[in-house]
């Protein structure tokens, strides 16, 4: 198994959100994340950003009970 540094690990955690990783890549990433707290945080944040679109959409699609949210665009 290849040992990688943080920069390469972030490449793998980014790629994983767009395309399945190969077995080697998966192992490499898993191993790095187990050892590196900063990359573990980075991985969580990439995932959070990945969910941001869906979060925005569900905020828009769940009708809000709050009718005056300051976005009233009547002149």
């Amino acid at each position: 198994m290849k040992m990688v540094m943080c920069r390469e690990a972030t490449r793998l955690m980014s790629k994983r959100l767009d395309s399945p990783l190969g077995i080697q890549e998966k192992m490499t990433l898993k191993f790095h994340l187990a050892m590196c707290g900063a990359c573990k945080q980075c991985n969580k944040q990439f995932q959070l950003m990945h969910e941001a679109g869906r979060a925005l959409e569900s905020q828009a699609t769940i009708p809000s009970s709050d009718t005056d949210d300051g976005t009233d665009d009547t002149p």
Binding site: V4, M5, Q45, L48, M49, A52, G53
Partner: protein
């Protein structure tokens, strides 16, 4: 049941449809602005989407929520607008603009994080995503991203297109797409952390 609210029957009344559409308009606008990076174009696509939704009401089958259906219409309109932007030559060629250098500054020569760039905890993800303040930071960080990168990032993460679809739209190789998304995520992450934790610490 929630579904019964969205049955096509309830939306037979034009007044009710109009009320529901007006209610989500601000959110649609915010979404379109993030993606198109042009306020007047965003206004136009939202207007078109609302008109289409109103006129094609019979197409709403009630399988999804009404607002979700409207959102789907908006996404198609945004995609059309992006294609038009590209045809008009509004998409700049892929120059690097110091992006690579900005990304490299986060790492030491060995490939480890620079101490000042080491990712820190953002707290509970649920709380983060439901915080109004987080979305304000998100907005300003998106504006700060270079156009080229932001466009690919939002196609992937807001519109939910696959990297293969993005390649077709943008006319780039998939490998290139992954590189751009990697840089975009690193830049956006750094910006979000700065804004989000600065607020939390104050």
């Amino acid at each position: 049941m929630v579904e019964s609210l969205d049955s096509a029957r309830d939306l037979d009344s034009p007044g009710e449809r109009q009320r529901r559409l007006e209610a989500i308009r601000p959110r649609l606008l915010a979404f379109a602005r993030l993606q198109l990076r042009d306020a007047s174009e965003a206004d136009d696509v939202v207007q078109e989407a609302l008109i289409t939704a109103f006129e094609k009401n019979a197409d709403f089958a009630g399988r999804s929520g009404y607002e979700t259906w409207v959102f789907g219409i908006l996404k198609n309109k945004i995609l059309d607008a992006l294609r038009a932007q590209k045809r008009r030559g509004k998409w700049q060629p892929w120059d690097d603009d110091g992006v690579e250098a900005a990304v490299e500054r986060q790492f030491q020569a060995t490939g480890r994080w620079q101490n000042i760039a080491r990712p820190r905890s953002w707290g509970d993800p649920e709380d983060t995503l439901t915080s109004e303040r987080f979305w304000q930071v998100f907005d300003s960080c998106m504006i700060a991203l270079p156009d080229n990168i932001a466009r690919i990032f939002t196609m992937r993460e807001l519109m939910g297109l696959s990297t293969r679809q993005i390649c077709e739209e943008a006319g780039i190789k998939e490998n290139n797409c992954w590189v751009i998304l990697h840089r975009g995520r690193l830049l956006l992450r750094a910006c979000l952390e700065k804004g989000w934790l600065a607020e939390a610490d104050s």
